[in-house]
Symmetry: none
Subunit: 228 residues, 2 copies
Amino acid sequence: MSARILVIEDNADLAQGIAYNLKLEGYEVRITPDGRAGLDAAVRWAPDLILLDLMLPGLDGFEVLRALRTSGSRTPVIILSARAEEADKVRGFKLDADQYVTKPFGVLELLERVAALLRRAGHSATPREETLTFGDVRIDLARRTVAKSGQEVTLPPKAYELLLALVRRHGAVISRHDLLREVWGYGASVVSRTVDTHVAELRRKLEDDPAAPRHILTVWKIGYRLDS
Amino acid sequence: MSARILVIEDNADLAQGIAYNLKLEGYEVRITPDGRAGLDAAVRWAPDLILLDLMLPGLDGFEVLRALRTSGSRTPVIILSARAEEADKVRGFKLDADQYVTKPFGVLELLERVAALLRRAGHSATPREETLTFGDVRIDLARRTVAKSGQEVTLPPKAYELLLALVRRHGAVISRHDLLREVWGYGASVVSRTVDTHVAELRRKLEDDPAAPRHILTVWKIGYRLDS
DNA sequence: GCAGTTCCGACACAACTCCGTCACCGCTCC
DNA sequence: GGAGCGGTGACGGAGTTGTGTCGGAACTGC
């Protein structure tokens, strides 16, 4: 049984993007463009988790969350906010949001948090596995560690997420642009060449011979591809 | 056989949360939303332990407790009080209650007290183990003490609970936010950096070389992880 | 009051991110 | 098959961000 996720977000573009990725992960997704409809869906549809934008037309995110909580709902909520200001964060926490993600955020980061929350809420039957492997590399999602032939390798956050993005679609070619969107997030102001830097780091730490990679491959003019 | 716990609490939100965590620990849980139903269940269902809110509609917590005791019941009771003043009242009551916990409380604290009371009442068949260990550190849950290579170490309450939170999910990465919710409780207005302070204390007292921790590890940008 | 504890702000430091530069590689076109 | 050109790899360092540490203020229990 797949978990149901409600996305309350007025930016249709963004909402669609998120929904697309969630569906890829096997979740059931519904989108509402404003607070009132969202609150309604939260009650009627009884989702297992809610992604909530703060900046909404009409009823804003704070009000939605408060209404939800005072009505006794314990549904886990992840707040998506454009404003990174501390005041907002505090308000969000005091309202018992379970997570707080500021835009721009990477899809992967969001997916990870969703999985984590659902796992804790008892929906351990999420489609995601606990460990991933390719070649002699093993990724432990819970521990957030990577090991090459048993030897633990420390990867900084960005490199780790990039690796996950590659592994998630291993075998397929992924463009720098896609990687940027998945890891750095929609609207991140980063040059696409930056991806190369982090790929280089991955190769340095995970390939036997970084100069002649056997797993993290370059696809000329297109992007990268991860081979087992 | 698992112990039976009765939760008398009118805030459905809170009651569900408590019940969820108790069930996770393997207890059998029943909830009643008011004093009269609670008293009724206390007699008929014969729980091994009662969690009792003071602010109840109709028959309040004091009256429930008094009725219970005058009827000769010796069932252990933990009082959940909203304010510190109420805690004082309970004290003045000269302890017909076995414990009192003031809101907001951490889940861990509550679980600890529940386990302790049941243990004392002879229900040692709680699902939880009596001691936990990692590295050369041993935690004695019953005595609430911690020893490093046989040498007893004194940890203040918050540090102790933080340690438990880490040990309970040892191996996995836990975010500061999660730690806050588990140890400090819902709606606690504490900055997440405070976690760092207490982690530092744990390292100082439990690591051979606090500057190069081998068990209580930092996961950059995410949180902490306890390794054996 | 006193000792112990909790919490936060300030600062220094460490880790990480990202881009510029340059060299080199592979494709394309003649 | 060689020249030209755009794409990629390698490297270093400036800037940013997150964490460790410390001291002290506020609070609590005794």
